[in-house]
Amino acid sequence: MSKMTMTQKIIAAHCGQETVTPGEIVLANVDMVLANDITAPVAINEFRKLSNPTVFDKEKIALVLDHFTPNKDIKAAEQSRFVREFAKEHDILHFYDVGQAGVEHALLPEKGMVTAGDLVVGADSHTCTYGALGAFSTGMGSTDAAVAMASGKVWLRVPEAISVVLTGQLPEYVSGKDVILHLIGILGVDGALYSSLEFSGDGVRALTMDDRLCVCNMAVEAGGKNAVFPVDDATRQYLTEHGAAQPVVYAADPDAVYQRVINIDLGALKPTVAFPHLPENTKTFDDIPQGMKIDQVVIGSCTNGRLSDFVAAAEIMKGRKVHDGVRCLIIPATQKIYRDAMHMGLFDIFLDAGCAVSTPTCGPCLGGHMGILAEGERCVATTNRNFVGRMGSPKSEVYLANPEVAAASAVLGVIASPDML
């Protein structure tokens, strides 16, 4: 009888072994390899060093131009072209250019490209997002992606696990972002180093699929290798609606071994903000000073750029105005989210409030373009990192929050909770 976690079972199934042991290094078969306009050029250069530079499966590679697109400058345009030509040369099925693309970790689940039980690797740290669908997915580098594109294999260290048991229901103005920020606050930015975060408990049912995608997305900010949610009716419904392949369901053994167990009562969570310059610097409004003036708000990214995020932000913004001196950027993560938000009338609400609405891009989240901060500026963002210089000047500040907090902050011009409106 094995004593494996859900993650360990998925890895075992992908390396042809009955069991795997934490710390063991295995060669696993991949179901999807992902890279973007920043990481793919490096991967393609490495790929071309191979004596047989052919792809293992043209339907199991995803190339998404999302970071510096629409091309921010000439060099970015050259990089996009380099990836575009590679995709054409190798007849890559899942190549997404401007007009079809979106922020990769919102796009792949939406297009049904990942299903439960899959093993997905990506040259982007937030590839851990797909654990929400019951898949094993993790970020790695460009050389890993290059070799995986050629061989269909990746080397993996089998991770230990941390169990996160969720109970209760989320209160108003609290969502997946607050769950993961709260957890990172407990663990610290390296508290889950090399480990998987395995979610379970009655509280899972209370989380929407968008909440779960957001939670798994930021597992890497605690140092985690991956995060994973059990497959339930909501997962199955999501996978069916998005045309994903038939799920293969793995569940942890009852006697699976965990390094640590963390219990979270969802009902006790409050809107949470991570202060500069680490995602672990979390505070609730009990401890956030009043009157912290801001210059910019960003609502978008692979963390919180999904339709439910804009619905939540629009409910706060409706009939209100963005505060004088504040720029509020609305960045739907995919073309579909953009269209749905537009048809729901959310853009009218945002435009009436004085927001700028952008085409999908990772843009400002990584300090690429479309909302760079000047020295001394402060931004409330629904993104995932608040490192030094992450959104622009090394002397700017990023505060990570959920969409309701971001919208309320835009209206009040200070870091604010929705109940302060």
Binding site: T143, W155, R390
Partner: protein, 160 residues
């Protein structure tokens, strides 16, 4: 392989955004990346670094973005080896995959200390302070990648 050089010392959680800021990621050219390496955490890094020098840091070195441009920039700038109390996992694998030596060690190292690392015998010496430590070997598969000269070479050698 024996490495010698002085140490440039940094703190905990040195993230890949400060190792190479995203504003420079519109190129994959290693020399261009190396020119901006570490500038957001230490604007004099390029001036201070002599080829062969070590970067020594605290816990969770290389956290954040998966950008392989980070170890590539350090390697191309002339860093012979990164020593840290712990590494973020993507940086760790990227360094091995591209052939940038890394050592996990909690040795007391101060900025400017002269270091020697013997990668074959797994020893790290702080010449300035007269201390010596051994560090555990990499697992056999990782040794294969390192001995091959990186992941692409390991693939060429039929190891995966």
């Amino acid at each position: 392989m024996k490495l010698t050089g002085k140490a440039l010392v940094y703190g905990d959680h040195v993230d890949t955004d400060v190792i190479i800021p995203a504003r420079y990621l519109n190129t994959a050219d290693a020399k261009e990346l190396a020119a901006h390496c570490m500038e957001d955490i230490d604007k004099d890094f390029a001036k201070k670094l002599k080829p062969g020098d070590f970067v020594a840091a605290g816990v969770n070195f290389g956290c954040g973005s998966s950008r392989e441009h980070a170890p590539l920039a350090l390697k191309t700038a002339g860093v012979s080896c990164v020593i840290a109390k712990s590494f973020a996992r993507i940086f760790y694998r990227n360094a091995i995959n591209i052939g940038l030596p890394i050592i996990v060690s909690g040795m007391d190292i101060k900025d400017g200390d002269q270091l020697e690392a013997d990668l074959d015998h797994g020893t790290l010496t702080n010449v300035t302070r007269g201390t010596k430590e051994s560090f555990p070997p990499f697992s056999p598969f990782l040794q294969t990648i390192i001995a091959s000269g990186g992941l692409v070479a390991a693939r060429e050698g039929g190891h995966l």
